[in-house]
């Protein structure tokens, strides 16, 4: 059963931006797409870059190292050289806190 951990305050991550957050031993990237928060593994599945340092366009994050892209809502790779989907994490907003699950969502086949 996943637990939810507070990672940021509402408003800390403006729309169109991302932030590196830590949940236990995992490093995640928290994104704000037009007011809704999404969280994925921070490490690009292609080559170890940090997705929180990438470029968010709509709900697509572009990795700063080689330009691979992922849909942050599903984790699916949408542009090469990214092919392997990135793990996603459930996000909840409670009051002024943004909480993220400490375990990834089951990957839908």
């Amino acid at each position: 059963m996943a637990e939810f951990v507070r990672v940021a305050a509402v408003g800390e991550v403006p729309p169109g931006e991302g932030k590196l957050v830590r949940v236990g031993d995992r490093f995640l990237a928290l994104f704000n797409c037009d007011g809704t928060y999404y969280a994925v593994d921070d490490t690009c599945t292609h080559a170890e870059a940090s997705l929180s340092e990438g470029f968010l366009q709509g709900c697509e994050i572009e990795c700063p190292l080689h330009g691979g892209r992922f849909d942050v809502r599903t984790g699916k790779a949408t542009w090469s050289p990214a092919f392997v989907p990135v793990a996603t994490y459930a996000v909840r907003v409670e009051g002024s806190d943004v909480l993220v699950a400490n375990e990834p969502n089951e990957r839908s086949k």
Binding site: R22, F27, T43, E48
Partner: protein, 451 residues
């Protein structure tokens, strides 16, 4: 559960000073440690921007969570007690492991930071061989240590080597005089017991001209769930025409962060055979390096790594050819299941002065599941123009035809896979001396493959 620890908390210059005082060390050693501490402070913590650490993320490592000098309850700190003498020795949990097998010439046992047992055959002393934990040898043969300590791995070799140089405790020292052949292998066991302990074993092995030695180093944890930090250094000084076989068995518990810098310097016509076995730890970052400094040197490194769960293994090997007419040969095999990850970076570096080098490097990776990943980066840096250097790497899943063949012979799929993994590693296991040790490794591999 801790009998002794430093009053100074965490890693700091004050901790280094207190540690040296607790051990009543000579001034030269205290100064050496403090210089190493300065190197630690001067070298920045590695990040993924550093080439060596690109694929190994240590952001989750919290150095503040580990105590640099921990002597577990039920043991005595300081000199390792001889097997025959009385007094508190290794904890009962160690049991059978603390007993020297009949195929070993000597055994040192270290628990966390304390040397707790020394069991050696009388023949060693008669041959003039020095074999004891490093703290004891500093007391009894200080000059010998002073001459060689840091000569192969200086404190500033890298960030974690600096920390070990500043805070090392126990470990092992072996000195083999000229022409002496140590018949049976000598062994050292480092046993991690206290949760939150930081272990800094330092191994210094000096083998003089024409001598020979086999040394087996093993690391284990009392429990699979204990968090701990290991940062070790191994220095092998191999003299002219001497021969050393070094076996490193890494079997830490699953919550241990393990860092090590291990290096052998070979003199003229020296031979080193190095066997690396990597099974444990949540993250292993290990440098295994050989330097052929004079003509005629030969180095052979073989490795076996089996990863499971979310383990991360990162091995950086080096075959450094400095003098002409030397040869080296490396074969590393890794098998990974679940979401384990391995990184292998093997470098053959041939300097301008190393004509007629003959060097070979191969890394074979068996990926047993979709979530596992093996990165293999063999590298060549060649500055001479009359050499032979070969490198190769493969990353592959188990051949489905091989599985099918075994299934048609009545083996269930799991058994078939296990047989294939055993067959994959067996040629390297055969290079482990001492039957008892070899069998332990085979058993450990079989259990882990089946799990």
């Amino acid at each position: 559960m801790v009998a002794e620890a430093l009053t100074t908390k965490g890693f700091s210059r004050a901790a280094v000073e207190e540690l040296s005082a607790v051990k009543a060390e000579p001034d030269w050693l205290r100064a050496w440690r403090l210089a190493a501490w300065e190197a630690w402070e001067a070298i920045p913590m590695p990040t993924r921007q550093d080439e060596d650490w690109r694929r190994t993320d240590i952001r989750a490592l919290d150095l503040g969570a580990y105590a640099p000098y921990t002597v577990p309850d039920g043991t005595t700190s300081g000199t390792a007690r001889d097997g025959t003498a009385g007094g508190a020795g290794p904890a009962p949990a160690l049991g059978r492991l603390a007993k020297r097998g009949s195929d070993l010439g000597g055994l040192l046992v270290q628990q966390d930071a304390a040397a707790v047992r020394r069991d050696a055959s009388d023949a060693l002393a008669a041959q003039g061989v020095v074999f004891a934990d490093l703290d004891t040898v500093v007391r009894e043969h200080g000059d010998l240590v002073r001459r060689h300590l840091g000569s192969v791995v200086p404190a500033d070799a890298n960030k974690f080597a600096a920390l070990n140089a500043a805070l090392w405790s126990s470990g092992s020292f072996v000195y083999v005089p000229r022409g002496v052949a140590v018949e049976l292998p000598l062994s050292a066991l480092v046993w991690q017991e206290t949760p939150g302990a930081a272990l800094f074993p330092r191994t210094l092995i000096v083998v003089e001209r024409g001598a020979s030695l086999t040394f087996i180093a093993e690391s284990r944890s009392a429990d699979q769930d204990l968090p701990a930090l290991h940062d070790g250094v191994v220095e092998l000084c191999v003299g002219e025409g001497a021969q050393v076989r070094y076996v490193g068995l890494q079997r830490w518990g699953g919550h241990v962060w393990s860092f090590s810098t291990e290096r052998a310097d070979l003199a003229r016509d020296a031979r080193v055979q190095w066997v690396v076995v990597g099974l444990g730890a949540r993250l292993t970052k290990s440098y295994v390096q050989t330097r052929l400094l004079a003509p005629g040197g030969q180095a052979r490194l073989v490795g076996v790594v089996l990863g499971a769960g979310k383990q991360h293994f990162d091995y950086h090997t080096l075959q450094e050819h400095v003098a002409p007419h030397t040869s080296s040969d490396l074969l590393f095999k890794t098998a990974l299941k679940d979401q384990a990850r391995s990184v292998f970076v093997g470098l053959i570096h041939v300097e301008k002065t190393a004509q007629q080098t003959d060097s070979y490097l191969a890394n074979r990776n068996l990926v047993l599941s979709d979530g596992a990943k093996a990165d293999s980066i063999p590298r060549l840096e060649i500055e001479a123009n009359d050499v032979r250097c070969t490198h190769g790497a493969t990353v592959a899943p188990v051949d489905p035809e091989q599985i099918f063949y075994l299934e048609t012979r009545g083996l269930p799929r799991d058994d078939a896979e296990r047989m294939i993994v055993e067959g994959f590693f067996e040629p390297i296991l055969e290079e482990i001396p001492a039957e008892t040790v070899r069998e332990r490794v085979r058993t450990a591999l079989a259990e882990k493959t089946a799990a």
